[in-house]
Subunit: 285 residues, 2 copies
């Protein structure tokens, strides 16, 4: 599956870019939640988005959905877990599929939960974001799983079918999973332990658990863990006025590039990024 | 009349900034055409502004107008002709009034007509943008007037009452002015002639006219002529990611900062500028 552009994120920055790229007949793979931005969805009133006076987040997302439908743009409701540079672009791991795109636009928003200490260093070395991709490595082994959102419970179930024991940590209450080899913990993972390879997790209260691997399921992954070598300033991707990152062919827009965290800023940056990408594709071809 | 912020321009960048500054209880003087952006007004269909699917420019401007009314923001339909740094901010000449603001945001759009050769150099030295301010200097004298738009004809009439002779150049057809001392020309002003002071105009066909002064009436003035010492790159104001120009306390947003000339980009930059200005005002106070 080869594309001109892969957009990661279905918030306003991603939408703004998708609309423009579609108008310019670019082949776009647009990854993210079908429900669009949850942050917008939960906003009671938005008073400062030009053109849509005093709108609820729910209604604005509905406008967005109609616009997406009208423009005939498709959303791939898949989690992008890894983006790797290839010969003429990038290889994108999304769910269990691999996509190819000449250009990548990161519109991933702010990361709600923090990266766990050791997570970035040990990613691919016993730490994984993808049950389908890496689960088979842990047949009859012991793993720890951090599950941020109920919607990832099927991933945990899948892992429980493979592994001997699953130590489960959730960021929500009332996890309904009831499997004999899944042991739920109340505490929080403070650190993933290991040098060459993850060998266990240490909870914030100091308690240690030995494991063969660690799986992490989050709605939003930190861009720095998804794209290797991306220059960041704290939690934000560094971009220039054309929304270019330090990596050739990788652009970023919206909350992930820094404050203010605003819809207007996001749609503006998505628009600029799309136009810069159109130029970049012209030069490339 | 002292303000926190003076916004110049009533297009989407100015609107986006005005909405945010108003929400933050800043005292804003917002200058520009009551009719908002003419470029938007004339757009048949806008397909890529997130949240307002497939809208005509006329309808989008109507949305903007309702939002301005709802937010109780006032537009000062006056032409800003000069912005000069003062002790704690800027002095803004608009029509016949002077305003003071701690911060200036330029959201002036693209300049439709080009700056005339000699215009910037001789501004204030026989070249003026303001009949009310400088007209009295030309009592019984000879002046040339460039009038871009019919709506400035009252300025020409006013000048004709003072001056002996007015040589009039318009950018539109069928100028209805019929005054004994107003001589209308068909040609175009190619250059304003003079070293220390404007002494006449040379038409593009080479014909020269001696005058004591030159008045220019345009819907949009080039930012570089309004604010002295502003760093430009061609026709665009140079800004950083916070929309700051090279001049302390002067910000810019929208088309005037460069391509792409897009509504989404303009509202994004207006939003960023407003938030940067709010921070700047905090530090200032």
């Amino acid at each position: 599956m080869k594309y001109d552009v892969a957009i990661v994120g279905t918030g306003p920055a991603g939408l703004s870019a998708a609309l423009n790229l579609k108008l310019h007949n670019k082949k776009v793979a647009w990854f993210g939640a079908d429900g669009l931005s949850m942050k917008i969805q939960k906003a009671k009133k938005i008073a400062n988005y030009p053109g849509v006076p005093m709108v609820s987040g729910r209604d604005l997302n509905q406008c967005f959905r109609e616009q997406i439908k009208e423009a005939q743009i498709e959303i791939l409701d898949k989690m992008v877990t890894s983006i790797v540079a290839g010969r003429n672009g990038y290889m994108i791991q999304a769910g269990e599929d691999i996509y190819y795109a000449k250009v990548v636009l990161l519109a991933t928003g702010t990361v709600s939960s923090k990266v766990i200490s050791g997570e970035e260093e040990l990613l691919g070395k016993g730490v994984s974001y993808c049950a389908t991709c890496d689960g088979f490595l842990y047949k009859d082994k012991t793993i720890a799983v951090f599950c941020e959102n109920r919607k990832f419970e099927n991933e945990v179930t899948y892992l429980a079918e493979i592994a001997k024991t699953v130590y489960l940590f959730t960021d929500y209450k009332d996890c309904k999973l009831n499997l004999p080899n899944v042991i739920q913990f109340d505490g929080k993972i403070g650190e993933i332990v290991g040098r060459e390879k993850a060998v266990g997790v240490q909870l914030t209260d100091g308690f240690k658990i030995e494991t063969d691997g660690v799986f992490i399921f989050r709605t939003t992954l930190a861009a720095s863990t998804v794209v290797n070598g991306l220059k960041m300033e704290g939690p934000h991707i560094i971009v220039d006025r054309q929304m270019k990152t330090n990596k050739n062919g990788v652009y970023a827009a919206g909350d992930c590039t820094g404050m203010p965290y605003q819809i207007a800023k996001a749609v503006g940056e998505g628009n600029i990024a799309a136009h810069a990408i159109i130029k970049y594709l012209q030069i490339m071809s």
